[in-house]
Symmetry: C2
Subunit: 330 residues, 2 copies
């Protein structure tokens, strides 16, 4: 079982090159891995986002196999492209790995990342390999707008309906279970394998009726607050409309299901507002239904506001207002 | 003295937004920091590269002020755009910082990065902030080709002359001195403040006579070897032509000056081959002279090869064949 420290950086990079040759799409890649920088065919507008998963902060090593980790790192990053209604094309991966990490694990991690990206049409085109005490994977995704306008956070206006895909709170509950040593079940799976909403998001962008969008990474309330602030509006939340995963009630968790759904974080569901009345609402509802995706109408934009915020939140949720990386709860 | 753990992630991101508004170029930035992804104006070809500096691997905390660290992180990454003959336009920064890091230091780090990037026409457009035990800064730079072709590693052919800017080995010697507690002098400065060769590299790309190029990050021999392999050639190195910084001989270092120059690493000088005989050589020599940049003609491509490599290397250097992140020397 060779360790990275045994074989060094360059054989690992050679292995990555071969995996890319075997599995990654080639369209648009003028210069890929192996030169100083990648040279990529791009359109007039390029979308770009960077996200990191850090051992000890976002995961512990025994929570995820290397393949699960590679896939999760990609999905967490590409979710931001989905939230803009874009199409991912290119991926750069900066891998910081302990010297004692097994080469086979490093390959499995990268192979999974390459395959998951290829599944949505994106190619690994570059990156960086560095030693570190703890694993961290920083993924940059470059994309382009799909048909239709970009989905911004700032476009929500009074009267718009607010929608949410999927069930939030499951990933956060999964983390709580993993901390207790539970390693199976739908909640743990929700954490391990975030959803990919790229096709749906592109269709939503193409519909012309989505006025604002964000992906739920910090927790539903926190991310809804981001839309409120960017748009300068208040949103009236209808807590009773939230889809609560039955597993949240069955798992013997520390808090009420609603609390996880409102402030869990790491969900990577889509949260968006729709303008155009019931006809527009029906349009997005059928787009989601066609995509086999659960959709809940969870609120309404009620007013422009100079102190934008979410109304109608019960006390239980206010105690846990979302994920903050430096441990501070505002 | 507020710590990141006191103020949280979002106030730090707000501070970064303000710094960007004050100092970063705006051209081409359709959506900058504050939405899910940046939306950037791009040309038909986009160059992309990612590089990381990791505490305990690339630096110790007392080796660099936060401002020096921010600048160095940018320069290490943008060097790959220079090596392609490109022009940097956009920067994404993934910052992993300890909760006990001071907000003022985090701001100084980012301000310096923004300013250094702005100095070469590039704007910070996005990134990520995460907690971690140790500092790591992962920088993605997006650029575009300047006038002229891209400089690849693979174009060197028999008869081409091989050139090197500046004096290699100083940064590695600087690291050795920093480890001993020396914190001043030209060698330490060479490590702290890598050169920016973007304008020169763009002119070299525009000259049409540069057949291959790379930036020296792993050590001169290692990077020359990368050109040999990518081009399928042997290079005859003329060690006596290497410019040795006088400080290397005066600093009481562990090894001979030549050894640092050949295998030090972290230099970020440009190494390139030139095709077209003495007329072409004169052309690049005057380009460098006009840029105020030292240039040495250090060898020649002597043959196509199925076992590509560097010839004419003395024993002293072979003992230390360049930087490898997992501690393995090939």
């Amino acid at each position: 079982m060779a360790l990275l420290a045994d074989v060094g950086e360059f054989p690992f990079i050679e292995a990555i090159k071969k995996l890319v040759q075997a599995e990654a799409p080639r369209r648009g890649v003028r210069v890929g891995i192996g030169d100083d920088a990648a040279a990529l065919s791009t359109t007039a507008t390029t979308l770009a986002t960077t996200d990191a998963v850090v051992e000890g902060v976002h995961f512990l090593r025994d929570w995820l196999t290397p393949a699960q980790l590679g896939r999760r790192a990609f999905r967490v990053a590409v979710s931001d492209i989905a939230a803009m209604g874009g199409k991912p094309r290119y991926v750069l991966a900066a891998l910081a790995l302990p010297a004692g990490y097994r080469l086979a694990d490093a390959r499995a991690l990268v192979a999974s990342l390459i395959r998951d990206a290829a599944g949505v049409g994106a190619a690994l085109v570059g990156g960086n390999v560095s030693r570190a005490d703890k694993i961290s994977i920083t993924i940059t995704v470059l994309g382009q707008p799909s048909r239709g306008a970009l989905l911004r956070r700032s476009g929500a206006r009074r009267g718009d309906a607010v929608y949410l895909t999927g069930c939030t709170g499951m990933a956060a509950a999964g983390v709580e279970l993993l901390k207790r040593g539970v390693s199976r079940g739908v909640l743990v799976s929700a954490y391990r394998s975030p959803p990919l909403h790229l096709d749906l998001a592109a269709r939503l962008a193409g519909s012309g009726v989505v006025s604002a969008a964000i992906d739920v990474s910090d927790g539903l309330l926190q991310d809804l607050q981001h839309i409120c602030r960017a748009s300068g509006v208040d949103v009236q939340l209808d807590e009773s409309a939230l889809a609560l995963a039955p597993a949240l009630a069955r798992a013997g968790l520390e808090r009420e299901p609603l609390s996880y759904a409102l402030s869990g974080g790491e969900d990577y569901e889509l949260l968006f507002s729709v303008r155009g009345g019931e006809r527009a609402n029906s349009r997005v509802e059928s787009l989601c239904s066609d995509a086999g995706c659960r959709l809940s109408r969870i609120g309404e934009v009620v007013a422009a506001s100079s102190t934008p915020g979410v109304r109608g939140v019960s006390q239980a949720a206010i105690a846990e207002p979302g994920y903050e990386h430096f441990g501070h709860k505002t």
